[in-house]
């Protein structure tokens, strides 16, 4: 049905190696994004309120990942109730 789904269900050997390279590149990129964290100091935006979460190590990385994961999960969940065939209103 979906293009991405098909790709996943029938992976050919050459695709496997392609995907491995792709993930490798991603991993390197992510590592590159984390490394400078050792040299750059983030300052806490709400220091005066005693909130220093956003100055912790790698905050933006994990916060972004989990926020996106949560949003996708919520969307999936709502989708169960909200999704209809796209001809729904034409009937």
């Amino acid at each position: 049905m979906s293009a991405s789904g098909n790709q996943r269900s029938r992976p050919s050997p050459s695709r496997w190696s392609k995907r491995r390279t792709r993930w490798l590149i991603v991993a390197v990129l992510l590592a590159l994004a984390i490394v400078p964290e050792f040299f750059v100091t983030h300052y806490a935006h709400f220091e005066s309120l005693g909130i220093e979460l956003d100055a912790r190590f790698g905050f933006y990385a994990w916060y972004s990942f989990f926020a996106c994961g949560a949003m996708i999960a919520i969307a999936k969940l709502l989708g169960i109730f909200l999704k209809r065939r796209d001809s729904y209103y034409d009937e």
Binding site: L29, L30, L49, C68, K76
Partner: protein
């Protein structure tokens, strides 16, 4: 050069242009399409700040030509959007759409120069009319455009009615029609005006009209539609309701509403419509924060958003135009075949995701900065903490549901076997132009900052809006890259389906219909014959009462006389009993 003697509201150039366009053909029309917005832009900048024209109406003084910093900023980007939209549409769009779009753009610019509520209301309604016609102009190509345009018009006319009631009440309470900040006033009228504005901004519960109507327009039509209505509403909120706390909640709702519905959406341009709601939610939240930095942020974000959203829609529109496909599920692997469209789409996607060195980065961060800038001294600091964390999450989310989803499913992913080419040259030029602006604003944000409404803040505290610090760049890269990780890691969950998502518009698109059917169904239970009889009788009754033809269109005289008697006896009886 000063134009003291001869000044007209700049919006009129485009509005009059809308009526000139049908009178000319070919090259002259093309020239006008490009020249009139530029002429408007020139006028916008030649008019010095202040009110220059008064018209007496009843005991009030209309100010149709009040130039302000906020107004000029929005008028500038509106003129630019009309220019690029016209370029993109050039000879692809129908004449009706072009005229309507110019009328629409002119009215939007009229709002930005409105010094009083009545002028504002006039242009507000003209905008509703112009935008409806833009939708309507696509009726021949897309049979769904006409009903969508009528639903759209209905929502906006209802909003207009609420606005009018509010204006009347406000004028009655204050005696002034001036359009200025209403945060100090109180009473029902103020909230009615706010409600009227919020309808156009796409606020809940009526957010659905954007995704319902806009995607039914033509490729160029949606470029026009995305630019004006919601952003004009942001403008009036900036002027009228800065710092109104409820806007924070409304804005945050819009932000996440757009993301969630966007994630579920399969139709490309409807995805873009949801992302309009989400992005405008950022601006509404900023208006709710209401500090000078926040208002600057809202204005700057609106400016940048009009450009990158138009760019995204040009790209999505080109795909639709060249392939005839509008769903993620039907597309894929187009990068090789439509490289320029792809570059435009990716640039727009990066800008909307606030990628460093794009216009989104230098404008959205003003809004997040506004959340923490005065948090310590705010009346409700924890609220602002929440705002900051949520907006930061939403920034990552923007990358997820537009920034990655759109290019990935259209230009990469699996090849869907389509072999289109890039669209006509003028459409490519328009895309190059806006792609250039997206990057240029990101690299040289000073040009945009210089025309923001509140310069004091910018000059006094340069630190608070410093974009390109190592910390900021790093955190933004991390934010985006890990959003990307989430996207690819959870790709199976994002499998696109050929569906739509229910929204509040279900009430007026489905519920009313179902209720009607329910009623007929029950009648049907009585058996075919009875049903036919009842139907016939109802039909005859209607025909009898108000029918267009038929021998007896009049009520029987006896019936009329009966009413006379009823009324007289009623009146006499009432007086007698008293």
């Amino acid at each position: 050069m000063q134009l003291d003697g001869f000044m007209l509201p700049p919006g009129l150039i485009l509005i009059l242009g809308a009526f000139i366009l049908p009178q000319v053909e070919g090259r002259v029309r093309h020239a006008l399409l490009l020249a009139l917005p530029l002429l408007t832009l020139l006028m916008v900048w030649l008019i010095p700040h202040g009110s220059h024209l008064t018209l007496g109406l009843m005991e009030y003084e209309l100010e149709p030509l009040r130039s302000s910093a906020e107004g000029r900023l929005f008028a500038t980007v509106f003129a630019v959007a009309a220019f690029a939209g016209g370029w993109y549409a050039l000879n692809k769009a129908t004449l009706l759409e072009l005229s309507a779009a110019f009328f629409y753009a002119g009215s939007a610019i009229g709002v930005t120069f409105a010094g009083d509520l009545i002028t504002l209301f006039i242009y507000w309604e003209l905008m509703a009319l112009g935008s409806t016609l833009v939708l309507w102009a696509n009726g021949k190509q897309n049979p769904r455009a006409y009903p969508a345009s009528m639903r759209y018009l209905l929502v906006h006319l209802c909003g207009g009615v609420v606005l009018m009631a509010g204006i009347a009440g406000h004028v009655y309470a204050t005696g002034s029609i001036a359009f200025s900040s209403m945060t100090m006033t109180d009473g029902l009228a103020k909230w009615l005006i706010l409600a009227g504005f919020l309808v156009n901004v796409g606020a809940p519960p009526l957010s659905a009209w954007i995704a319902d109507a806009y995607p039914e327009a033509s490729p160029s039509g949606m470029v026009f539609l995305s630019a004006f209505t919601t952003k004009t509403a942001v403008f009036v909120l900036i002027v009228g309701f800065p710092g109104t706390e409820i806007l924070i909640y409304i804005g945050l709702y819009m932000v996440f509403y757009g993301i969630v519905y966007g994630l579920l959406e399969n139709n490309l341009r409807r995805l873009m419509a949801y992302s309009i709601v989400s992005q405008v939610g950022f601006m509404v939240t900023a208006v709710g924060i209401g500090t000078e930095l926040a208002l600057n942020g809202a204005a700057a974000h609106a400016f940048a958003h009009i450009i990158y959203k138009a760019l995204l829609l040009m790209s999505a529109g080109s795909v639709l135009l060249m392939t005839g496909k509008r769903h993620c599920t039907d597309l894929g692997g187009l990068f090789k075949h439509m490289p320029i469209t792809a570059i435009a789409g990716i640039t727009g996607a990066l800008a909307i995701s606030a990628f460093p060195f794009t216009s989104g980065f230098v404008t959205k961060s003003l809004e997040t900065a506004a959340a923490y800038q005065f948090a310590a001294t705010a009346s409700d600091p924890m609220l602002l903490v929440w705002v900051w964390f949520l907006l930061t999450a939403a920034s990552a989310g923007s990358f997820l549901y537009v920034g990655l989803k759109f290019p990935w499913f259209v230009f990469f992913n699996k090849d869907a076997g389509l072999r289109p080419t890039d669209p006509a040259p003028h459409m490519q030029y328009a895309m190059w132009f806006f792609a250039f602006l997206c990057i240029a604003l990101g690299v040289f944000p000073e040009a945009l900052y210089a025309i923001l409404p509140y310069q004091n803040d910018l000059l006094a505290q340069p630190k608070s809006y410093q974009q390109y610090t190592a910390s900021h760049l790093l955190s933004q890269f991390q934010l985006l890259l890990f959003a990307g990780l989430a996207f690819f890691a959870l790709l199976p969950l994002l499998k696109q389906t050929l569906t739509i998502s229910l929204d509040v518009d279900w009430i007026y698109r489905r519920l009313f219909k179902v209720l009607g059917q329910e009623f007929t169904f029950k009648v049907g239970d009585l058996g075919g014959k009875t049903e036919a009889k009842i139907h016939g009788r109802i039909k005859r009754l209607i025909a009898h009462m108000h029918g267009p033809s038929g021998p007896r269109i009049h009520w029987p005289s006896g019936f009329m006389v009966l009413w006379v008697a009823v009324l007289l006896v009623g009146a006499l009886g009432l007086y007698y009993l008293r």
